[in-house]
Amino acid sequence: EPEVTQTPSHQVTQMGQEVILRCVPISNHLYFYWYRQILGQKVEFLVSFYNNEISEKSEIFDDQFSVERPDGSNFTLKIRSTKLEDSAMYFCASSARPDNEQFFGPGTRLTVL
């Protein structure tokens, strides 16, 4: 069964450093998403992406964040200068259509020290 994969599973970084979180969506999906979950809080939407551009972004997704689909398979989330409050679990998701089920990856746990 096809699945969304994410790497790394755990990333530890120093405050101010850049991180890139990687996702490989399901191959025939066209809509891609990033969500995050700070420990003890709700899963929150960050950004949606379709046709090589951002469809929607939340207030959390400020200038420090960017997304890219550098090739036909990867979908990345970059945080330019990490802050302590960026520590969270980051989930990638994909769907075949915007109104279809979103399939989630296992998440990357980002720890900013």
């Binding site: 899963v43 949606s48 989630f104 998440g107």
Partner: protein, 113 residues
């Protein structure tokens, strides 16, 4: 603020007990409703979804949920839980032309053998 509310933070049950998890949303208009489950160490998986039609929907692993439009609710039920149902359960909502998932805070379900 518009939101998704899950009534219980942590539910502890014995095997064979019945489970009901509450979910209410505050969005007006047409919504799509989802229950996701996250087993320990695994990624978010879809249990069931409601888009339209019969308000009683059946999902995987014996779960069902009922959409009651007048109550803005989508409660999850299982008549007889198993130890393997120990997991975190998330209710989520999307709206027409706004396909980002808005999640509830999640309910941790612990089933004692």
């Amino acid at each position: 603020a518009q939101s998704v509310s899950q009534h219980n933070h942590h539910v502890i049950l014995s095997e064979a007990a019945s489970l009901e998890l509450g979910c209410n949303y505050s969005y007006g208009g047409t919504v799509n409703l989802f229950w996701y489950v996250q087993y320990p160490g695994q990624h978010l998986q879809l249990l069931l979804k409601y888009f339209s039609g019969d308000p009683l929907v059946k999902g995987i692993k014996g779960f069902e949920a009922e959409f009651i439009k007048s109550k803005f609710s989508f409660n999850l039920r299982k008549p007889s839980v198993q130890w393997s149902d120990t997991a975190e359960y998330f209710c989520a909502v999307t709206r027409i032309n706004d396909y980002k998932l808005s999640f509830g805070a999640g309910t941790t379900v612990t089933v004692r053998a």
